[in-house]
Amino acid sequence: MDLSRFSMEGRTVIITGGSGGIGRGCARAFASAGANIVIASVPADSIPPALEEIEKLGSQALGISVNVAEPLELDRMVGETLQRFGRIDALINVAGGSYSRNPDMPQYKRSSLSEMDGEDFVGAYVGNVKTAFLASRAVIPHLQKSGKGSITNIGSIAGLDRKPSSPDIAAYGTAKAAVHSLTVHMAHQWGPQVRVNCIAPGTIDTPRPEGTVRPEMAQAAQRIAVGRVGVGDDIGSVALFLASDAAGFVNGIVIPVHGGE
């Protein structure tokens, strides 16, 4: 049995938002495939547990606390990565979300369009689109040197849906649709050396702060064909596929991963 086309042995991957639910799922997948992993995350205290998990899987990990909306901080991230691992082969842009979670990042909250102000609307754009753009721009010269370079953005089915799941994700859905489009432009401008793709996840349950209950998850499971909501690993396995040689002909696409909605 030969699974070598999914291997990332000897390659280095940077995961922004790498200490959150989807980011951790990606980190586990890439660690299992033998990659060196950089966790680029804002909340510094969330990094050590993520690193520990990766090292347990036998991979090398570097944690960098970085605000991915700031070009200078991203340059520092690239510098530290090169110093430790000497190369960058893949970037996974996970940082983002439907509302801001980190006090150090631009603040925005969810609301319906009528109740939303311009700051929150732009905040969703900064948090999801600008971050992916800036992080990609910062690493692209190194990805082009890799020979196997790839970028994977995280979009959302909220950016594809014709029937939005709730009114308060309008700005998020709009921003994620922009991430989908950004993916196509990146693939067009940075190919053929670098492949660029986007995963559009459906409902993914991610670890919450203690005491947070998400009853909507049980409800969501009922409308999903596979009968459950997704977890970080479900997106990690797709992200690993997209970055690996197995996806050598996958480029400029948005892949919806939702369990059947």
Binding site: F6, S7, G191, G202, D234, N251, G252, I255, P256
Partner: protein, 271 residues
């Protein structure tokens, strides 16, 4: 990654590269004796699956089975007319007799032209051209799936992958001559979604929207100018190869694709 609802996502067991393995799986590949089907049959076998080649033309089937066996993998060839429900029933029964299970159905059989239908501008097509294209590209996927699904439901697991085309996806007006083919592949995309809905939760159904792969048939029939035009469309400056289609199909068929369902993978290198 199990199918069980997991109340606490942090309890999910550590991911392993073995998630992409097809060890212990049995896969039927329709149209598996040639072109993209043959590439996938090899890919499945390399990932550990036992493979059943269901196609017309015994000679080509025998050759692919021998190729796969020469690599130390298990394969069986069963000559099957993809338009004949009885022949498909026979294929499924023989697969179960031989291997005791069916885990993966890969519906590849199809094409833009064939012995019973031609492609061309709409005004030059007959009713037979239209209906036969639908039969070969859409009805066949329906018939194979319908025959296999009772076993998958009984096993409470299974994966079906349909082969569609980027011709079903393009928002630009399509190439003259590909009208009916593109229509059938759009049908396959939609059929995929209904299958995923109706056979949930234990059977996953997806499709691959393939771009430009140079199959032996295409190599024989395509004009060089058209070939050059196709290549110019592809961002990564090359056509798809056997590893590309195998990698995509193995990912979807394996547990790594556990949450990939009722969906599609565009496979075109940026087109």
């Amino acid at each position: 990654m199990s199918n069980e609802a997991n109340p606490n996502p942090e309890d999910v067991p550590f991911f392993s590269l073995e998630a992409y393995s097809l060890a212990q799986r049995v896969a039927i590949v329709s149209g598996g004796s040639d072109g993209i089907g043959r590439m996938i049959a090899h890919g499945f076998a390399d990932a550990g699956a036992r493979v059943v080649i269901a196609a017309r033309g015994e000679e080509k089937i025998t050759k692919v089975v021998a190729e796969i066996e020469a690599k130390g993998h298990q394969a069986v060839g069963i000559p099957t007319d993809a338009t004949d429900p009885d022949a498909i029933e026979h294929l499924v029964n023989r697969t179960v007799t031989e291997f005791g299970q069916i885990d993966i159905l890969m519906n590849v059989v199809g094409g833009s032209q064939g012995p019973t239908f031609k492609r061309g501008p709409l005004l030059e097509l007959s009713k037979e051209d239209f209906n036969e294209a639908f039969n070969i590209n859409v009805t066949s996927a329906f018939l194979f799936s319908k025959a296999v699904v009772p076993y998958m439901l009984q096993q409470e697991s299974g994966v079906i992958i349909n082969m569609a085309s980027i011709g079903a996806r393009d928002y630009r007006l399509p190439e003259t001559g590909m009208s009916v083919y593109n229509m059938t592949k759009a049908s396959v995309m939609h059929l995929t979604r209904s299958m995923a809905k109706e056979w949930a939760p234990n059977i996953r159904v997806n499709c691959i929207n393939a771009g430009h792969f140079i199959t032996p048939r295409r190599a024989r029939t395509e004009q060089p100018e058209r070939r050059a035009r196709s290549l110019a469309e592809i961002e990564i400056n090359r056509f798809g190869n056997p590893s590309d289609i195998a990698g995509a199909a193995v990912f979807i068929a394996s547990d790594a694709g556990a949450f990939f369902n009722g969906s599609y993978l565009d496979l075109h290198g940026g087109t």
